[in-house]
């Protein structure tokens, strides 16, 4: 049987001299109908460019296929070499033969057309449906991707939907043309794990229903384990390894694959938590947060406030010296707001934050998510590192320079970095720089808000190791915020799970992860992909996160807690 798609020695380059600027340098693979190929690899390895070459969208980004062939089996049984096809033929390939969904559900839908219209367009172009027929078709598609209340949602604009729903609309649109090959380019990277799980389940189900082939691109090797039949590993434009999912994951042949597998933080549901807990009965917490409430009033105008976003609603926790408290929860649950409130960057409505400090005037420092955004691009490293010291009355003298050099050294950056500018560093180096800067004032607590989320997996691992080392060396306490359970598992002593502005479960990391009590925590943990969970049947769960927008004067009911272990507290759920 001829494969649906057969790619041979594909080479793609960019710019005025595409041969010299090749980013895909000889990729070959076959894909049979109904099969799923997972492509993994680091950022920039050429995954997207390979995918975009299959329907020649790469042309529009300024790319050129310099050699190789892409034979596509078309619906009428003919085979077409996409690399040599003209624009007219390609238009029929796109949509009809090859459907595609992209990473960013936020930006991949046209903001000025309703989602109904966008799906109808696909039906019109590729299935010739018009008018009422197209409308019915679109409705059916929305139903199929489990958009609740699809009829009224047809008239919605993309911005009125949540990220997960938008991604579902994207899928509906791609499927509307009944493609025989669906390319999904990191379709879930921008989503929360729980939403990710929903999308994965949906894709798997639809694939099985329609029998289409699928190319699934991701840099998350755990994710691919759950869906792919075959895996292809790419590095700098080359395929370094390809084979059955099981073969590649269990007996990786290539160094790079092995490296990838080891660098990825594996989530083990509490089996790999830290054991060096510094919590003792007699020590005093360095920070105590008591009933923290932060609200953002919206629609403040002439006619008063329409209500407020209860971003953080009654949060209590404490942090011991040398301890890491991980805060997890999905997007919008109030993690960052809590962190910012602790640093006094947000006005808080209520609540007490007590800081007991002996050694610094500014005992709490912060490392932000995006290292590039938190370093002023126009200042050199010397000025960046000196800023906190100067702000606190020190002078730019030799002692200060010594400290800068010491810290640079400590975070693994060369001394000559002092004269360089942020853009001259890689992402991981920049984050090290931020960490060094946070340490300039000799703090006791460092708040890390998604501090490693923007880094590549292998870099991520190194930064995490560095953080743990520094914690031991300087006796730092960390407030570590992340949505990545595997990362938190690795660094946290204790974990607080946030949901809709409140902590629903808090306790020793091992206890919370291995024995989740709250329904939300359970859902969260079960959604985390892992290399071990192969061909798992993700359950489709369309639970919506409750809105945090509350009317003026609303106060949440007093929290009731239940103790589930020595250091493990769970918020009682309202019986619904």
């Amino acid at each position: 049987m001829t494969p649906l798609l057969s790619v041979r020695d594909l080479r793609v380059g960019f710019g005025s001299d595409p041969v010299a600027n090749e980013v895909v340098r000889g990729v070959s693979f076959d894909l049979a109908a109904g099969q799923t190929l997972g492509i993994v690899g680091e950022s920039g390895s050429g995954k997207s460019v390979t995918a975009l070459s299959i329907n020649r969208l790469v042309d529009f980004g300024g790319g050129r296929i310099t050699s190789g062939s892409i034979m596509l089996q078309r619906a009428d049984g003919t085979a077409l070499d996409v690399t040599g096809a003209n624009e007219h033929a390609l238009r029929h390939v796109r949509g009809r033969d090859v459907g595609m969904i992209f990473q960013e559900p936020m930006t991949s839908l046209n903001p000025v057309h309703t989602i109904g219209a966008q799906i109808e367009e696909a039906l019109r172009i590729n299935r010739g449906l018009r008018g009422q027929a197209a409308r019915n078709g679109a409705l059916a598609m929305l139903d199929r991707v489990r958009i609740p209340d699809a009829k009224s949602r047809m008239g919605y604009y993309p911005h009125q939907l949540s990220g997960g729903m938008r991604q579902r609309v994207m899928i509906a649109m791609a499927l509307a043309s009944s493609p025989r090959l669906l390319i999904a380019d990191e379709p879930t990277t921008a989503l929360d794990v729980t939403v990710q799980a929903q999308i994965m389940a949906l894709l798997a189900e639809l694939r099985d229903e329609t029998g289409m082939a699928m190319i699934f691109i991701t840099h998350d090797i755990g994710l691919v384990a759950g869906i792919a039949d075959r895996i292809m590993v790419m590095q700098s434009g080359l395929v370094v390894e390809q084979g059955d999912t099981a073969t590649v994951l269990d007996t990786p042949q290539h160094d790079y694959t092995r490296h990838l597998l080891s660098a990825v933080p594996h989530f083990t549901a509490g089996r790999a938590t830290r054991t060096d807990s510094p919590r003792t009965e007699d020590s005093d917490p360095v920070i105590t947060v008591d009933d923290l409430v932060v609200r953002f009033s919206i629609g403040r105008g002439l006619f008063g406030s329409k209500g407020a976003v209860h971003a953080v609603d009654g949060v209590d926790f404490d942090l011991m010296p040398g301890e890491t408290l991980g805060i997890v929860g999905e997007s919008g649950s109030g993690k960052s707001t809590t962190a910012r409130a602790v640093l006094d960057l947000n006005a808080r409505k209520r609540g007490q934050i007590t800081v007991r400090s002996s050694r610094s005037r500014r005992p709490i420092q912060m490392v932000f998510q995006d290292p590039f955004a938190s370093l002023n691009p126009r200042l050199n490293v010397e000025a960046l590192l000196a800023e906190p010291a100067i702000a606190n009355g020190q002078h730019k003298d030799e002692a200060l320079r010594e400290r800068m050099k010491f810290l640079l050294n400590r975070v693994g950056l060369p001394e000559d970095a002092l004269t360089r500018y942020p853009h001259q560093f890689s992402g991981g180096q920049r984050q090290r720089l931020c960490i060094a800067r946070a340490l300039m004032l000799n703090p006791e607590v460092v708040v890390l808000d998604e501090a490693v989320s923007a880094l590549d997996v292998s870099v991520q691992a190194k930064v995490l190791d560095l953080l743990i080392d520094l914690q031991r060396e300087f006796g730092l306490a960390y407030l570590f915020i992340s949505h990545d359970m595997a990362v938190v598992e690795r660094i946290a002593h204790r974990i607080a799970v946030m949901f809709a502005g409140q902590i629903v479960e808090i306790g020793a990391a091992q206890a919370v992860l291995s024995d989740p009590q709250h329904s939300y925590t359970k859902r969260l943990i079960s959604a985390v992909p892992a290399v071990e969970r192969r061909n798992q049947h993700f359950a489709i769960d369309t639970t919506q996160v409750p809105s945090l927008l509350r009317p003026v004067g609303y106060e949440p009911p007093k929290a009731q807690w239940r103790q589930a272990g020595p250091d493990h507290h769970v918020r009682l759920e309202a019986v619904s």
Binding site: L345, I364, A373, N376, E387, P388
Partner: protein
């Protein structure tokens, strides 16, 4: 320097920089008195002579050499444009920056004041200022500067507001950096790119406005020529001595073109989004 060489590598930037360079050179030479003829001297027997080897661009009604006057006029027009834009950029940037930083209610107040200036018809504002203080270089500068201040304020305020939200400003707040430090090093320093673009575009506009004001007889005072004044003087001579109108008009157009090209090139060079794209 780095920017200049980048401009030079940019296809349209190069043309812009060359034009501006030539204009600056002409202005400099004229300021040093190195014009082919004395720009103010009236050659009584050579009134309204067409271009020739002696008078490259002909002579005007009073027998003055157009080319020499043009060189001097470029200097005068550039002086006004540079001074006006410098003032506007300074005032506008300060207002926009503080407005963004202080937030309500200052922001609202200052921006409403800027709105008043914006809503006030620009040319009328210039007219009124000129009528009050009397025309002249200084007034042209003031008028153009006042008209352009709100535009700078707006150009600065928008990005300043978003810079204010940036993590490095938050970071500075966690260290307790002083307001002055944050304003100058974190905000202003990062506004250099949009400001540079705006400044070049404003310069083009100022050149045009100076010409317009002089055209209405409100700008530069004779005998100092400015490009607009030369144009105004020659308007009624268009038929007898078309060169008198042609050359100043071309000079103005080319000057504006130079600034616009440079501005566009700067935008390309300084804007990371468009980097690599030729615009």
């Amino acid at each position: 320097m780095r920017i200049l060489s980048a401009l030079f590598r940019h296809p349209s930037g190069r043309i812009g920089v060359i034009i501006i360079g030539l204009y600056l050179l002409a202005a400099l030479l004229a300021a040093l008195g190195l014009t082919p003829h004395n720009a103010l001297k009236m050659f009584a027997i050579d009134r309204m002579k067409p271009p020739s080897s002696t008078y490259w661009m002909g002579t005007d009604l009073l027998g003055r050499d157009t080319f020499s006057r043009l060189m001097l006029g470029i200097g005068q027009s550039l002086n006004i444009a540079f001074a006006a834009v410098a003032c506007a950029a300074l005032a506008g940037t300060t207002i926009g920056l503080l407005s963004a930083w202080w937030g309500a209610p200052w922001d609202g107040l200052m921006m409403r004041i800027m709105d008043v200036l914006l809503a006030f018809p620009a040319i009328l504002l210039a007219l009124l200022i000129i009528a009050i203080v009397g025309p002249g270089t200084f007034t042209s500068v003031t008028a153009i500067a006042i008209v352009y201040t709100p535009i700078f304020a707006r150009v600065v305020r928008g990005p300043a507001l978003s810079l204010k939200q940036r993590d490095f400003v938050d970071a500075a707040r966690t260290f307790g950096s002083s307001q002055r430090y944050v304003l100058t090093r974190h905000l202003l320093l990062n506004l250099v790119a949009p400001l540079a673009v705006q400044v070049t575009l404003a310069l083009a506009w100022a050149l045009l406005t100076e010409a317009g004001l002089s055209f209405l007889g409100l700008g530069t005072q004779p005998p100092t020529p400015s490009l607009g004044l030369m144009l105004a003087e020659s308007k009624n001579l268009m038929q007898q001595a078309p060169w008198l109108m042609l050359f100043p008009a071309l000079t103005i157009m080319l000057g504006i073109l130079g600034f616009n090209l440079t501005g566009d090139a700067l935008r390309d060079i300084l804007d990371p989004r468009t980097q690599g794209r030729t615009a």
